[in-house]
Amino acid sequence: MSLLQALAYFFWEAVRNLLRGWRISSLAVATTALSLFIGGTLVLLGTNLTRAVDQWRADAQVVIYLAEDASSDQLAALRSGLENSSVWTQVREVSPEQAQIRFKQRFPDLAQVAGDLERNPLPASIELRSRGSRVQVAAEIAELVRQGAVAEIDDDGEWLEKMEAAASVASLLGLLIGGILMIAAAISIASVVRLSTFVYRKEIAAMRLIGATEFFIRGPFVVEGLVQGVAGSVVALAALWLGYYGLGGLELPWFARGALLDFFLSGGQTSGLLALGGLAGLVGGLIPLRERTGVFG
């Protein structure tokens, strides 16, 4: 028998074994699927968060609200400081009047309220975009605060940094939890395959007597594990996909949409998930063949 024929034979033998014991094999498939689903969800979340943060970072600004009592000397010093710094790629002044117009455009419902006020409550500000690293930006901001003309500084980078950390944590947790759960999956697949070898131990003995090599005797059991692992990852992928598009149909706030639904798993991540399931199955299929249960050792 050629290798390809042998693999086909292993596959059909494995499928036959699995269908015979479908109740317990579907349990192992479900364990694998659940493990990969949990891990996959976290990785998906992490990936989307990372991408969202990257996009938000492009729009991120540092806004300096100027103190009302700032002297013109102070303001001049501030302006020249900003112009001469290499960190800022954009320095745009927004007068209180401009701020009010923008406010009315952005929140038309509140425009009436703002118009009724006697005095414009919005302060003058300077909107900055940065190029430097977070450390450089933070140092510049600290320097700005020390000069008196600044009432308040609103730095988008601060919460972006937190989101970024959350994204890494989600991805890392996904890999970690997924990894641990994959061990559980491999163990449960191993117990299915172990049971199979036990149920068929007399037939295994008979095959040996006929002159079957260990390759032919063990092959179907390894493939039995592999099939369960891959089946588990297919189920997990389907569940992730359903969850992803199910959520997509819901009304979600823009940031949740960005964090969850920007992007489904990449081709690489999908193959990775399949490979992980296959690996768990392969390991699960090989474990019983190396044990001294009397069937193989």
Partner: protein, 232 residues
């Protein structure tokens, strides 16, 4: 041809199963191995198909030193022989067809040729009607005939049988023994272990008697009528 040179087998726990056996079984002989339960018959056969390695001595099967055969080569040794057991040892989840052609299948024989092979072999054992049945659907005598078909499907030089009629009633036993007789007449060497005195009376050319692991008798059995007819 099988040769034993001073073969002893001691199982763990100092259980002596065979001691100092030397003999020669020429090609084409039908040997009946007799002796009480525990005399060492199964051990004798197990040494030939290398399920055990002798504690002392050498065993040659068709010129191959079985005792020193590496484990990896054991399947290839067994492919040159057919083995039949008291409990039939069929593969329960496979049909009669699949059981009989299991070895040809893993050797890469295509499905059509396997079918022809199975039909030809099952015809010889009178089971063609049951080619697609599962072992559980057959009687004991039928299952043993499947096992015999499986043993001879590859045209082996040597057939080993360990109490093949042990689970069958006398009429069926005679049928099975006649089947071995036919296989022998085609030139196959047969070593058949049996504690059944009936088997020793009517079949075989040579009787070996074991007692507590010793060879206590080795004598020719009368030439059978069937064989005499063929030779005449």
């Amino acid at each position: 041809m099988i040769e034993f040179f001073n073969v002893s087998m001691v199982y763990p726990g100092d259980k002596v199963a065979l001691s100092e056996i030397s003999l020669r079984i020429p090609r084409g002989q039908f040997v009946v191995l007799a002796g009480k339960s525990g005399a060492g018959k199964s051990t004798f056969l197990r040494l030939i198909y290398r399920a055990e390695v002798p504690s002392r001595g050498q065993i040659l099967v068709n010129g191959r030193n079985v005792a020193s055969l590496p484990a990896k080569k054991v399947p290839f040794l067994r492919r040159t022989m057919g083995i039949v057991f008291q409990d039939f040892s069929l593969i329960e989840r496979k049909t009669v067809f699949e059981n009989v052609t299991f070895l040809p299948h893993i050797l890469g024989v295509d499905a059509r040729t396997r079918r022809e092979l199975a039909e030809r072999t099952l015809k010889r054992v009178g089971l063609l009607d049951h080619i697609d049945a599962y072992p559980a659907e057959l009687s004991g005598g039928e299952q043993q005939r499947v096992a015999i078909a499986r043993a001879i499907v590859n045209g082996p030089d040597l057939v080993l049988a360990d109490e093949p009629t042990g689970n069958l009633d006398p009429d069926l036993s005679r049928e099975i023994m006649r089947l071995f007789e036919e296989i022998h007449l085609e030139g196959t060497t047969i070593v058949l272990a049996s504690h059944d005195p009936e088997a020793q009376k009517e079949f075989g050319q040579r009787l070996l008697v074991l007692d507590h692991g010793r060879l206590v008798a080795d004598r020719p059995l009368r030439v059978m009528e069937t064989e005499a007819a063929v030779q005449g």
